[in-house]
């Protein structure tokens, strides 16, 4: 049985070609143009809300964007190509639900607690997901419609989602909302690598940075608990 599993390569799990994947990006771009401009503008507004610690507004708007991408990309054209897409789409919808829930009921941990490294990394990831990601396709020579855009394509949305999550939440809530975008970035990076697509390292690097932010958030949380304990004595 172990021999069976070692006989698999990552490419054995990717049921489409690079040509088809790039066309998928292009088709989604063509279908929703000129929504790109509005979705990036909305993303920047969410980022501003997160930066100014307006958790409720940022979380709810992000939840809507994530649910939209689950429908128009992951459960839609992506799931046509990959039978696992319907389950991934469901996972995205669950994450959208969690984002909405945590925004509506902020809980006991104030957003002001998020600081230093997680906040810096989160801001960087969110800015890159919204403004940097569309440039990748253009730089490697694909058409403008194949440019991956926050709010329409999954990869930049997942990267920005990780960033906003790092800016807004701590503890268990942060891990719960970060889990699916983190796994998506890993899955996407490995998929692009198997397809020999040039920018495969981008989602992998985003996942690695987000992981650093998540660990930093845990450390910050421990420090907070310790400092509260010592001040209480």
């Amino acid at each position: 049985m172990i021999d069976d599993w070692t006989s698999y390569a990552i490419a054995d799990f990717i049921p489409f070609t690079a040509e088809v994947y790039v066309r998928l990006l292009e088709r989604v771009g063509e279908s929703y143009w000129p929504l790109h401009v509005a979705s990036v503008a909305l993303g920047l507004f969410i980022l501003w809300c997160a930066w100014t610690r307006r958790l409720r507004r940022a979380g709810l708007l992000l939840a809507i964007v994530v649910a939209w991408v689950a429908v128009v990309f992951v459960s839609g054209p992506y799931a046509e190509l990959n039978w696992a897409g319907r389950w991934l789409g469901f996972a995205w919808l669950v994450t959208a639900g969690l984002l909405a829930l945590f925004a509506a009921f902020p809980g006991p941990t104030p957003v002001k607690r998020v600081n230093a490294l997680p906040r810096v990394l989160g801001t960087g990831l969110a800015v890159f997901g919204m403004l940097g990601y569309p440039l990748i396709g253009l730089l490697v020579g694909h058409g403008a419609m194949a440019a991956e855009t926050f709010g329409l394509h999954a990869d930049p949305t997942a990267v920005a989602m990780l960033g906003i999550a790092l800016m807004l939440w701590t503890g268990l809530r942060l891990w719960l909302v970060a889990l699916v975008p983190l796994l998506w970035c890993l899955l996407s990076g490995l998929t692009l690598q198997a397809l020999d697509i040039a920018w495969f390292a981008v989602p992998l690097a985003a996942a690695a940075l987000a992981l650093v932010g998540l660990v930093a958030a845990v450390v910050e949380g421990q420090r907070f608990v310790l400092s509260r304990g010592s001040s209480g004595r």
Partner: protein, 309 residues
């Protein structure tokens, strides 16, 4: 009793003609030049080069790419192709085949092969019905159990369906050398018409036990991954020309010829199913089913040559 349509009638006539010729050689030349081998359980001849659809036909609802794949399939049939293989695991490939066959009008030579791929052993009939709807075709010529998933339950139902005429042949599949022990047990103990397994000049494990068993049990063999996942032929094309002796001995015109002729010239092999998304590559693939084939001695020389590169 099901009424025979034109496609089935032509196949029956072909099978009858083939059975009458069985005492002769196992290789038949069709008028258009593509070589055919008989399915041992019936004698019906099928072209030695078929078509796989893993990755290549999974293009979703993209009309531009669907039309491009239709042209690949058109070329396949124009050059005498028959067996087209698919699986529910291949994403939208079945739907794309359905689209392409609708454009082409279901050629008479089509030998439609699909797979049941569900853990639910009670869902065989509904799975087959769904595939028929997806392709726009019924009955399938060959229904296989994908990777031996829930094989006992599916096989029992498929045997009933074969007896009812709801499928013409039944079989099992594996790939990349997985579960060969279980595969061998099914081959030895069950009444199946086809097996599908991985065989290429660089993946020859099946020569030891499975191919001799198939010959002994009268089971047709389909070779998937004859290019060993693709990089094999890409690497060869990039760094070397086919050897002169291959050109002289069996009119080898390129690496597709070299690799596919190696696969289909094995005495136990019935058909290879390379997969491609390009018309030019389909033309290359189909050319490998024509002309002289390497004999046992040449096959050894081919292996040594590839190993030396």
């Amino acid at each position: 009793m099901n009424q025979l349509d034109r496609r089935q009638l032509l196949k029956l006539i072909a099978a009858g003609a083939a059975v009458s010729a069985l005492p002769c050689a196992g290789l038949f030349a069709a008028p258009d030049g593509i070589l055919k081998k008989p399915i041992p359980s019936s004698g019906e001849p099928i072209p030695v080069i078929g078509m796989g659809t893993w990755k290549s036909f999974n293009v979703g609802s993209d009309r531009q790419l669907r039309l491009a794949r239709t042209e690949v399939l058109r070329e396949f049939f124009r050059l005498g192709g028959g067996l087209v293989d698919c699986s529910p695991m291949y994403g939208s490939s079945g739907e794309v085949l359905g689209f392409a066959l609708e454009q082409l009008g279901q050629p008479d030579s089509l030998f439609a092969a699909e797979k049941v791929w569900t853990e639910d052993g009670a869902a065989t009939r509904s799975a087959v019905a769904e595939l028929e709807s997806t392709w726009g075709i019924a009955p399938f010529d060959l229904m296989q159990i994908h990777n031996l998933v829930a094989w006992q339950e599916h096989l029992e139902t498929l045997e009933q369906m074969k007896a009812e005429g709801a499928v013409r042949y039944i079989g099992i599949t594996t790939s990349h050398g997985r579960r060969h022990d279980a595969f061998e047990r099914v081959m030895a103990n069950e009444a199946i018409d086809f097996v599908q397994l991985t065989y290429s000049i660089t993946s020859r494990d099946v020569e030891n036990r499975l191919l001799p068993l198939a010959a002994e049990r009268g089971i047709a063999v389909i070779a998937n991954m004859p290019y060993d996942r693709g990089p094999l032929i890409k690497g060869l094309k990039a760094r070397a020309q086919v050897p002169d002796w291959a050109v002289q001995e069996f009119d080898c015109k390129g690496w597709a010829d070299f690799l596919l002729k190696f696969v289909v010239s094995h005495p136990a092999m019935t058909c290879a199913i390379p997969s491609t998304s390009q018309v030019a590559h389909m033309t290359e693939n189909m050319r490998a089913g024509t002309g002289p084939m390497p004999d046992a001695e040449l096959r050894q020389r081919m292996v040594r040559h590839i190993e030396s590169l």
